[in-house]
């Protein structure tokens, strides 16, 4: 009994609250990345291994655009636009020819693309990480820390983008096209919906979202060619835990997993804290393989 009381006393409440904030902030960015991934899978049945690289290239585009324009917000918009168009081109060139084939082909193709993009970035930008300065330098006091406001702002923006996506899917004409195509591809075509272009559009949208996440994350840490790998793995875990193709589920799963990792980081070191996400994944696969947070679309 005494040991438990001691343990409870030793929990640094203030640190936990700080980690809660951190967890939610990272969780929102992860949610944005995972949303793009689950969107692409849910609608096109494509497992996009290159998603992490689109995130990474988006971050680089953001850094470059920021250097040119001096505005973080402009850089965000430009990066998303450029990578969105790039994503569309990728899909038309490499994924369209594979429609209707065994899904193994698309998994391998996107894996191949991720290899090419990752090495291209390493070759083009070099191994030294780039820095992106924070868009807002004001801070507020959270316990003993000076907590930067920009982190909160970024979390809010991520949420806003996801919200906008939801509204788009629900009410916009293209959103209806996308939902119809997901439910019945053949009849969608019979209704005049240009399904091949819907797929291109969805992929471009997912790519733009990944790029935006990259730019949003850039001020947190450096931008380097390997940042995509870590995020794509986490994003896949989120997508499986949240239910593949389930937008709401991946948002909840992203925050849940990020919070767990943030708490774990109090006691373990960061590279080990990621084990928390692995445990959640294994538990999900054991007990609810279709997704822990099956939220109706």
């Amino acid at each position: 009994m005494g040991a438990i009381v001691e343990f409870l006393h030793s929990i640094p409440i203030d640190l936990l609250i700080i980690q809660t904030v951190n967890g939610i902030v990272t969780g929102m960015i992860l949610a944005l990345v995972a949303s793009g991934l689950t969107l692409i899978f849910g609608i096109m049945d494509v497992v996009n291994f290159a998603h992490g690289e689109l995130f990474m290239l988006g971050a680089y585009m953001g850094v470059i655009a920021f250097a040119m324009t001096g505005s973080f917000w402009l850089a965000l918009a430009l990066a998303a636009l450029i990578i969105g168009i790039f994503g569309a081109a990728l899909q038309i060139l490499t994924l369209r020819p594979l429609i209707g084939r065994d899904p193994l082909n698309t998994i391998l193709a996107t894996f191949g693309i991720s290899l090419v993009l990752q090495n291209y970035a390493l070759w083009q930008f070099g191994p030294v990480a780039r820095k992106m300065s924070e868009p807002i330098s004001a801070e507020f006091t959270l316990f003993y820390l000076q907590y930067p406001w920009y982190r909160i702002v970024i979390a809010l923006i991520s949420g806003a983008i996801i919200g906008a996506l939801y509204l788009f899917l629900k009410f916009n004409k293209f959103g209806v096209w996308i939902r119809a195509t997901t439910q019945d591809r053949v009849m969608a075509q019979a209704m005049g919906i240009p399904v091949p272009w819907v797929y291109t559009g969805v992929f471009a949208l997912g790519a733009a979202m990944a790029a935006a996440s990259g730019v949003l994350f850039a001020p947190f840490g450096g931008v380097d060619s390997s940042m995509g790998l870590q995020w794509v793995l986490e994003a896949f875990i989120v997508v499986v835990v949240g239910g593949m193709g389930n937008l709401g589920g991946s948002v909840v799963a992203a925050i849940f997993i990020s919070l767990l990792e943030a708490y774990a980081a109090v006691w373990l070191n960061p590279s080990q804290a990621v084990i928390a996400s692995f445990i959640v994944l294994i538990l999900t696969l054991l007990f609810r393989p279709t997704g822990l947070f099956a939220v109706p679309k």
């Binding site: 899978f41 497992v47 490499t94 020819p97 594979l98 084939r101 899904p103 193994l104 082909n105 998994i107 391998l108 193709a109 894996f111 191949g112 693309i113 290899l115 090419v116 990752q118 090495n119 291209y120 390493l122 070759w123 793995l233 896949f236 875990i237 499986v240 593949m244 070191n269 590279s271 080990q272 990621v274 084990i275 692995f278 994944l281 696969l285 393989p289």
Partner: protein, 333 residues
């Protein structure tokens, strides 16, 4: 696609005989070339060829799952890595370093990982399975990378190469040539075993699972059990490749457990041709050779994965059956 139309006019028994003869003829020719190779090639290339054979074994083990059972797995880096570290454990813990013990430890480690993956293989299908195996190989990577005390963490483990020993008979150390022949023997033996397996009734059921799992289950086969055995077999041979690598290179590093290794393995499979067993070895050879040549011509810093990656993508679109795909039927008869 059937073999030469000439065969159609021959009586059945003779047809089979001529195919078997042709197969073994080709097999012997290839074996002869591989045996002679280290005698004629410069040291570096001999070692290179040995390494290609090891990667080929890894890719071949993966072909059992992908090409024959229809289960795409990105988890082979885990099996390979655990085979590698298992061997390292034996070579570091037991002195004098014993080759056979290394193999046993390595296979044991790989078997453990395989059991873990096999369990989930029965509950997940297709894309879910592929992604999950990927994440699993990352789990092993993280454990190995961060458990520095046991695994040496980032730096890996270094150890001495064991001798080739047959108790009471032989005790010689390896040189490049004898290492090559040892590896060749192991890989060839593995190929023959896997060939036997894929052509057996068991192998036929696996292929039936690949073609139509639901129907296979409906006929009455315990699909889960077959899948588990397939994963175990595949994992064991992948682990064996890891042991060979550790023994040849005298080190074990976490890099090989990173999921990129699994990805490269699957690339070898596709380039060489899935469902052929030898195709992946050819694929490994093609890839490694291209990489070697590119860095020789353009320098070490040349991002060889860019052109290779593009070639790979182009192959998926236009030549998904792989380099040896045309021979798939012939190789499996």
């Amino acid at each position: 696609m059937t073999s030469a139309s000439l065969d159609k006019t021959m009586p059945l028994a003779k047809r089979r005989l001529s195919h078997t003869a042709a197969f073994w003829l080709v097999f012997c020719a290839v074996m002869a070339a591989l045996i002679v190779a280290p005698l004629v090639l410069p040291e570096f290339w001999a070692g290179f060829l040995t390494e290609v054979l090891i990667w080929g074994l890894l890719a071949m083990s993966s072909d059992l799952l992908i090409g024959y059972t229809g289960m795409v797995s990105f988890g082979h880096s885990a099996f390979f890595g655990l085979g590698m570290y298992g061997a390292a454990a034996a070579l570091l813990l037991v002195k004098p370093a014993n080759l056979w013990l290394a193999i046993v430890f390595g296979l044991g480690g790989a078997a453990g990982a395989a059991l873990f993956v096999a369990y989930f293989s029965t509950r997940l299908r297709d894309i879910y399975f592929a992604i999950t195996t990927l994440i699993f190989s990352q789990i092993f990577y993280v454990i190995i990378f961060t458990w520095t005390a046991v695994t040496g963490g980032e730096n890996g483990l270094i150890f001495d190469q064991p001798h080739f020993t047959i108790p009471f008979l032989v005790n010689v150390s390896f040189n490049t040539r004898t290492m090559h022949w040892f590896v060749l023997a192991v890989v060839t033996g593995s190929y023959l075993i896997l060939r036997r397996v894929t052509q057996s009734p068991f192998g036929m059921v696996l292929q039936s699972i690949r073609e139509n799992e639901a129907r296979t289950r409906a006929i009455g086969y315990p699909v889960e059990r077959y899948k588990i055995v397939s994963v175990m077999l595949s994992g064991l041979f992948a682990g064996l490749a890891g042991v060979l690598y550790a023994v040849q290179k005298e080190f074990a590093a976490p890099d090989f457990v990173y999921f990129l290794t699994s990805g490269e393995t699957v690339i070898y499979n596709l380039i060489g041709g899935v469902g052929t067993l030898v195709g992946p070895i050819v694929g490994a050879g093609f890839f490694q050779l291209a990489r070697q040549l590119l860095s020789q011509w353009f320098g070490d810093q040349f991002p060889y994965l860019i052109p290779l990656g593009i070639v790979f993508i182009v192959m998926i679109i236009f030549l998904p059956q792989g380099l040896l795909g045309f021979a798939r039927r012939w190789l499996n008869r």
